[in-house]
Symmetry: C2
Subunit: 438 residues, 2 copies
């Protein structure tokens, strides 16, 4: 298609799809000017209309596969979400010789290796800037701007819903379930918020970032993943008292011959820039050997911010495909054949300081037993808060920060502590993120 | 050169040049892998050796113009700085049919229109990611990631030396000259720090950002520019008391049919993310209609961070020129012929709240006179701090925050106030940045 307009077919008219239509409707002149060559939206496929979308300028199909098979479409934008039909759609698009742009992190994380290889074999583009951190250009930064850097680590707040919930819990002291219901009412959380809450969504994004940063194949089995549902309002309070905020982090670090990949709530020093990223904002901190540390902050979701990233991919393709037969930027940062798997450090071997909260009988000797059990596992206590028992209660809450130890040490100490008759319920264990590389 | 390696000739072995050599020496495998096609440094030109640089693998010339005329160089990297020889060098490189990458903000800001037009006419690349905010990918973000956005404003800390000086002054209460001397000793400030201190360096960068954001030609006459030398330690103290930090900001905003372009120290609400960007860090906040607000933070200068940006441009070119005859990304975001000048809002018409600090005789009626003169210019006082006179002094320091008024109103009120016999010295006037768009 060198020399002529790049014709875009859009599949899906949900939150992001309608944003893309809105940008094409309002900014077609701007896009054409910046693209050099033309970029036109020609065909929109969606099972039903979106009343907020003016589609009068475009061919509209109820069957999204009509878009994929339209000979007047050069690039297919997949915005239907999910991984079954979306995968078929993208495979079929590539089969038909069409470039693909998607915002679908689950699709890329789960099937990206095969899709990238398919696209590469056919000399087709597969772009997914919108799949991670919405409007923040983190994919481009890793794939292009840091191309001469060895990345050592990424720490990110990459799920806006989860960050909104933790921020609200921290500022208002409200319990998790309450805030989740509000997030759903506000449209931040999906009707089924499981993936936002249990960390799956953040893990998908982390898998994508890790592949670009470290040259490993996409592998959703990689990250250790923990959700935010275990965080109680009192943990947020205790954390603040100790000088921390609690954030749901995605962490990817290069170790000697292995990668440390984790998604979990963590205590973050309150003075850290990332600790102050609140609400639905996302932030990604990248540590790399040449550049040092850069932090990108912005809206990680939402109709227009995500559509902005989708359209950035389209403008990139419009520009490059007007001059070249194929997209010269490797889909996963390097050729898929050069991607090299690396072992993942097991969670029990990862070291960090820990926050432990436990409720115990208010009687002499209990604390001595607990510290002895911690000591038996080689764990020292760095700080300790003990609250006086509330009226009529025979129990006290104790919060401890440990020194830096392995997950295995904590596991064994905690299972011993939980066996004590003096203990009420389970021990809440949260990791402390120390930003070692920075 | 489609299909073969892109051969790089480097001119200048100072701070940035030696960083580029270091990255080529240490990361050639990584760069080759990410580039797809090869990218090799072949020829280095510098008046003298840099003992920290291993040049054994490269042809070395004492005359940088030998690099430009070397038929085995496809892209010339200009890192000599300045605007006279650098301009000749870049013109000659383009004349010789070579692509150009530069980190030279003064060159791009002052001569970028002609150079971009020359490069464009010959189908050559002219890239300058490293010219603004060092290792932070702000040029790429504006030119590529936000291509489907109408940018409404940019607020940035884009001079690391100035930010280091203000941060040190604020944290240690030390006077400007002291901290400047330290910055020079640490190698942050140039031997001649004039451009860092008087705002010229930040203005050059702002001119480049404004061109990319708003599609205007580069024009160094545009920005109103004020340096940091007028900021006294006590201003930093008063600002803190009022809930602000003082930062040296570059501000570019789109107004109705005009642009507001300014570089000056400003009071920034302490809770703002940009207020917490300290030391030699840079930060650029971009407000755009689709994405909302994104903030990029990182090292704005230094050998390897800046070299990281230079090499990112080279990898981009290596990738694209392996597949295309020319760089399809417009040098200034859109074709140079489409750049459209816009009038600049005169400083006296720009509205903001103001911080005024004045020293007056400690006698009845003086404050009444001052508030009357402010009132005569239509200015209200929002907050006021008056310090008790220090022992043996007959003068008191008064600090005021005004409501939002024009620069002209402040000018006329201040010149009236300065005519009062009760006034000692001049009135210190600093703008307050309210981040209206955000």
């Amino acid at each position: 298609m060198t020399g002529s307009d790049l014709r875009v077919g859009l599949c899906g008219l949900g939150t992001v799809g309608s944003g893309v239509v809105q940008l094409f409707n309002s900014h077609s002149g701007l896009i054409r000017q910046r693209c050099g060559a033309g970029l036109q939206l020609t065909h929109v496929g969606a099972r039903r209309d979106n009343p907020g979308c003016d589609l009068t300028q475009y061919r509209v199909s109820r069957d999204i596969f009509d878009v994929v098979r339209d000979p007047e479409v050069d690039v297919v934008v997949e915005l239907i979400g999910g991984t079954s039909v979306a995968r078929e759609l993208v495979e079929e698009a590539l089969e038909q010789g069409k470039h693909v742009v998607t915002a679908n992190k689950a699709l890329i994380a789960e099937h990206g290796n095969a899709l990238a290889a398919q696209a590469e074999a056919k000399g087709l583009a597969l772009r997914f800037e919108a799949a991670v951190a919405g409007g923040i250009p983190v994919i481009k930064t890793l794939r292009e701007s840091l191309a001469a850097n060895a990345v050592s680590g990424i720490v990110g707040i990459i799920n806006g819903t989860g960050n909104f919930i933790l921020t609200e819990m921290a500022s208002a002291g409200r319990p998790f379930a309450d805030v989740l219901a509000e997030a759903q009412a506000l449209g931040y959380a999906e009707a089924d918020p499981t993936f936002d809450v249990d960390g799956t969504d953040a893990a998908h994004k982390l898998v994508i970032l890790a592949s670009l940063a470290f040259g490993v194949p996409l592998d959703t089995r990689g990250p250790f993943t923990e959700g935010i549902d275990r965080v109680h309002p009192e943990d947020l309070e205790f954390a603040r008292e100790l000088g921390f905020c609690i954030k749901h982090l995605g962490i990817a670090r290069r170790r000697v011959d292995a990668l440390d990949l984790r998604v979990h709530p963590a205590l973050v020093p309150a003075a850290r820039q990332i600790a102050r990223v609140d609400g639905v904002l996302n932030a990604v901190m990248i540590e790399a050997d040449a550049v040092g540390e850069i932090v990108l902050t912005g809206p990680g979701a939402g109709s227009l911010p995500t559509a902005s990233a989708v359209c950035a991919d389209l403008v990139d393709l419009g520009r490059v495909l007007s001059a070249a037969a194929s997209d010269p930027v490797p889909i996963l940062g390097i050729a898929t054949a050069a991607l090299t798997p690396q072992p993942i450090v097991p969670a029990e071997d990862v070291t960090c300081a820990w926050y432990l909260r436990l409720v115990v009988s208010d009687r002499p000797g209990v604390m001595a037993e607990i510290t002895r059990l911690l000591g038996d596992s080689g764990i020292s206590i760095e700080s300790l808060i003990q609250r006086p028992p509330v009226a009529n209660s025979s129990h006290v809450t104790v919060v401890m920060l440990t020194d830096v130890v392995t997950g295995g040490q904590i596991q064994s100490a905690v299972s011993n502590i939980e066996a004590l008759p003096a203990l009420q319920g389970e021990v809440t264990c949260l990791r402390v993120e120390s930003f070692e590389g920075a």
